[in-house]
Symmetry: C2
Subunit: 268 residues, 2 copies
C-alpha cells in the first residue's frame, strides 16, 4: 500500500525467509525496496536500528517480530537510538466512530507504570505532536477509574504535579486535567451527569493512561469493538519508530507509517 | 422502568431531598415503594445495608451517592454484609455490537490490584455466574497487554497458578487461559495471526482484568464507543449489590437490577 502510493522507500531487514508473496512485492518495486537478509529476528532488529542510527533511514518500522526484540535493539546503550535521559513512549492516534475528533492516547505499549518524570515526558510529547498536527491548544485528560486523587494510586499524585506544571506553561499551549475516567474525558453528557466541571471533560484530544494494562486495553478494545482506525509510533527516539501489532489491519499499519513520515518530514 | 415492569419492590433510603420528579414516581407506585428519609448519604447507605442484612431486602442498589460511600457501609465489619474471609468483587455483563455473545468481565470497580486469592475468587464467581446463566463450560480469558508471563507483572504469575487450579477442576466446568490481550481473547482472526493456540482465544465468555484501571477502561470504552449495553453487580456479599455509575444509561441500570433479581431468585 505504502509502495503503491509512493510515500516511502524501504530497507527491509529480514530475520526469516522472505515468503513468495513478499518476494513478488519486492521484485515489483525493486527500485524502492532494499532487502538485507539476516540470520534471525535479533540480528534483523539490530541491523535496522543501526541503519536508522546512521541516518540511512528516517523511520524504523516493526514487521512480524516480537515488539520486545525490536525494543531491545532500539534501547541498547551502545548501538541504540534512545539518547541518555530521554524517555521513550508509545503514542497512538485513533479515529473512532462516534467521537467527534481524532483521539491521541498513550502509553499502550511501552512504559509499564509511568513515573512522574515519564508522565511529564508523555504529556510534553503528546502536546507537541497535537500542535504539529494542527491542534493549537490540545485538551489532555489524565485518566483513572474515578475522579479522585488518592495516594493509594500513585499515578493520581503524579497527575496533580503534572497539572501544576501544565499551569506553569511547561508543556506550551495545552489544557491538562484529571484524574477522570475515559467516559468523562470523551463524553460531555457523562461529565455533566457526574457534575464534573473541567475544561477537558467531554472534549479530550489526548487521553493519558495510568499504566500499560489500561492503555493496551483501550487500544485493543477500540480496534476490535469500535471500528477504530489507529496509527501508532514511538516517541523520544532519534527517529520515529512504528511498532504496529501483528494483528493490526493493513490500513492501521499504513496510517502509522504515513503519520511517522509526516512527523519525520516536520523535523520531528 | 423497573416499577412499570413490576420486577421488584423498592425501599428507597434517601440521603438528600427527594426531587419533584422522583416524588411523583413514588406517589404513582406507592404500593411498591417505601421511602426512608435519612440525614445524609452516609446514613442512607448504612440504613440500606442494615435493611439487606436483616433480610428485609434481597438486593442492594446504589443511587446517586458515591460508590465508595455505599461500599464503606457494605464493608463495615460490624454492620456490613461481607462475611469474614469472603472476597467482594464487581462483575459486569456486556452485550457488545460486534461480539457474537454476551461478555462477562471483572473487576472494573472494586478490587484495585487483585492478589492471587482475589483472582481465585473472581474466577470462581464468574465461572459460577456463567453456568447459572446457562453457559455450561465458560471460556475465561486472563488478560494482559501481551501473551507473555513475566515476573515484572505479578498478575501474570498469579494467572499461571489460576490456570493450574482450573486444570485441577477447582472452578468446576470451565476453561481458563492467559495471559492474552483483549483482542486475542475476543477475536479469532487476531489470535490466528499471532499464532496463538488456546481454547479460549477468540471465544471468551469472561475476561478477567489485571487491575481496576484496565477493567474500568474497558467498561467505559465499550459503553461509550461500542454501543454496549452493560449490567453490573457486586459478588461475594450476602445479597447482590448493584452499583451502576451515575453516568450509566437507564437501560443499563435496569438490566443490572434485573440480572441481580434473577441471580437472587436462584439462591445465588
Amino acid at each position: 500500500m505504502a509502495l503503491d502510493n509512493g510515500i516511502a522507500e524501504f530497507i527491509l531487514t529480514a530475520g526469516r525467509q522472505v515468503d513468495e508473496n513478499l518476494s513478488l512485492i519486492i521484485e515489483r518495486h525493486k527500485e524502492h525496496v532494499k532487502l538485507i537478509e539476516c540470520g534471525n529476528d535479533e540480528e534483523a532488529a539490530r541491523v535496522a536500528v543501526e541503519t536508522a542510527k546512521a541516518k540511512r533511514a528516517d523511520i524504523l518500522m516493526k514487521g512480524t517480530l516480537n515488539t520486545d526484540v525490536l525494543l531491545h535493539a532500539a534501547l541498547d546503550k551502545q548501538s541504540g537510538i534512545l539518547k541518555k535521559g530521554r524517555v521513550m513512549t508509545h503514542i497512538a492516534m485513533a479515529q473512532i466512530q462516534g467521537y467527534k475528533k481524532l483521539l491521541m492516547f498513550s502509553d499502550a505499549a511501552v512504559i509499564p507504570h509511568p513515573t512522574l518524570e515519564q508522565f511529564h515526558a508523555i504529556v510534553g510529547y503528546t502536546a507537541e505532536a497535537c500542535r504539529r498536527l494542527g491542534i493549537e491548544t490540545p485538551s489532555i485528560a489524565l485518566t483513572h477509574f474515578s475522579e479522585k486523587t488518592n495516594p493509594k494510586f500513585e499515578h493520581t499524585i503524579s497527575y496533580k504535579e503534572i497539572i501544576r506544571r501544565a499551569g506553569n506553561g511547561e508543556y506550551g499551549n495545552c489544557i491538562v486535567d484529571g484524574p477522570m475516567d475515559v467516559k468523562t474525558a470523551c463524553d460531555t453528557e457523562s461529565s455533566e451527569i457526574k457534575g464534573i466541571i473541567s475544561p477537558v471533560a467531554g472534549n479530550a484530544d489526548v487521553i493519558i493512561f495510568p499504566n500499560i494494562e489500561s492503555g493496551n486495553t483501550f487500544y485493543k478494545t477500540i480496534s476490535l469493538f469500535a471500528n477504530a482506525t489507529t496509527a501508532g509510533w514511538l516517541e523520544g527516539t532519534d527517529v520515529p519508530v512504528v511498532v504496529s501489532s501483528r494483528a493490526d489491519s493493513v490500513e492501521s499499519k499504513y496510517f502509522s507509517l504515513a503519520l511517522a513520515c509526516f512527523l519525520s518530514n516536520n523535523d520531528y
